[in-house]
Structure formats: C-alpha cells, structure tokens
Symmetry: C2
Subunit: 92 residues, 2 copies
DNA sequence: CAAAGTACTTTGTCTTGCAAAGTATATCTT
DNA sequence: AAGATATACTTTGCAAGACAAAGTACTTTG
C-alpha cells in the first residue's frame, strides 16, 4: 500500500515542495500549501518524528526562523511513494 | 488538491478495483483489499453517501449478498483524481 | 436443535487533521 | 515609552476518520 505518512493531501504536496527546494522557510511553506500555521506545525512534527524532514531553528535578525530541510529517509520514502503512484496509474 | 475521499490508501485501491470490475461482491472486495468487514463497510458507506458507489442488496440463494457498483460520479471523480496524480508525478 | 458459519453493520476507541487560542518576542503607533 | 499590533511559531481542543471488536440476523452443519 501507499506510505500512510505521504498519502495525505497536505503532506504529499509538502514533501514535493521540499524535494524541489531542499531548504524552505516555515512561512514560505505555509503560503505554498495554503494551510494554517498550526496545521503545518503539526504535519512537520509528524514528519520530523519519522525523520522525513529536519527542522532547523535559526534567527533572521532578532526574529526566530524555522527552516525545513528534507532528510535522507524522507527523500527515499518519497521516491518510493512516487514509484508506487506510477504503478497505480499504470494499472488504471 | 487531491480529492480527500479518494486520497486514502484503502479507498484509492477500492475505487481502482471498482473501475476495473464495475460490479464486485462485498466479500471479494474485502479479500482484495485485505481489510476487515467493518472497515470495508464504513468505507463503502462513506463512498455511497457521496454517490461514488452504488450498493446493491441481493440474495445468493438464501444468503444476503452485497454487490458494489461504481457510480457515474465515482467514475468521474476517480478520473479526475488520476489526472491529478499524473500531474503530481510529472512535477516530481 | 445446538453450535458454528456467513454476511454484513453498528459500536467503541484510538488516531488524525484542523483551527483557535496561546506563547514569546519584535516592531509600530501615538 | 506604554500600549497595540505584528511575527513566528506551538499547544490545545475538538470534530472527523480509521479501524477492530462486538453485535445482528440469519443459514448451514454435525
């Protein structure tokens, strides 16, 4: 079956953006996905817990800045997920 | 975004099977999906509520037999879903 | 005719997904 | 300079989802 962590509307798109960007700030991610802060925060925690992403805490001047990176396991899982989708589409 | 009713492990596969078969008994569907009766029943109810599937109640001899059909709206939505997945894959 | 099987559905429970509210600090306004 | 507003998130609360276990209504079998 599909990776349940990735087979979800917000997270599949989120990971897709990460693959394309490698490092993206929280705010930019939030805007791309058109989700609320809280929603994004909880999705990121879930992905972080499984080492799909890496959360880097920095500062921009004096304000906190969270940068999201894709982690090796995330990249591998996403690749596998895409392969699974391809297979699924071929069969349909 | 992806149709939330279809972007779920059990239901995407379920609909895929329905597209291929058009009419399939509850039991066969259950075995194909490797889910419990209760789980399948609730997924079907959800799909029926949105007119994605049609549930036909018949008898096989004296035993009840539930046959699941794909409904027009289900077919259209699934087609759209597959197109969305294709687009998603192309971008990745 | 009692026990076991068949074909489901309903109920209960744990997990998600989400927005609203909260936290902490920074910047603007008057 | 104090209060108001903004920024950048995280935590909390709750409604909806996913699933298995238990329930329902028979039928078949020993």
């Amino acid at each position: 079956m599909f990776d349940p962590l990735l087979h979800q509307t917000v997270r599949s798109k989120l990971m897709s953006i990460l693959i394309a960007n490698d490092a993206i700030p929280f705010k930019a991610l939030k805007e791309s996905l058109a989700v609320t802060d809280g929603n994004l925060s909880s999705h990121l925690s879930k992905l972080e817990k499984e080492s799909y992403v890496l959360i880097e805490k920095t500062f921009e001047g004096k304000r906190p800045k969270t940068i999201v990176h894709i982690a090796p396991k995330g990249r591998e899982s996403f690749d596998r997920y895409i392969e699974a989708l391809k297979q699924f589409i071929e069969d349909n």
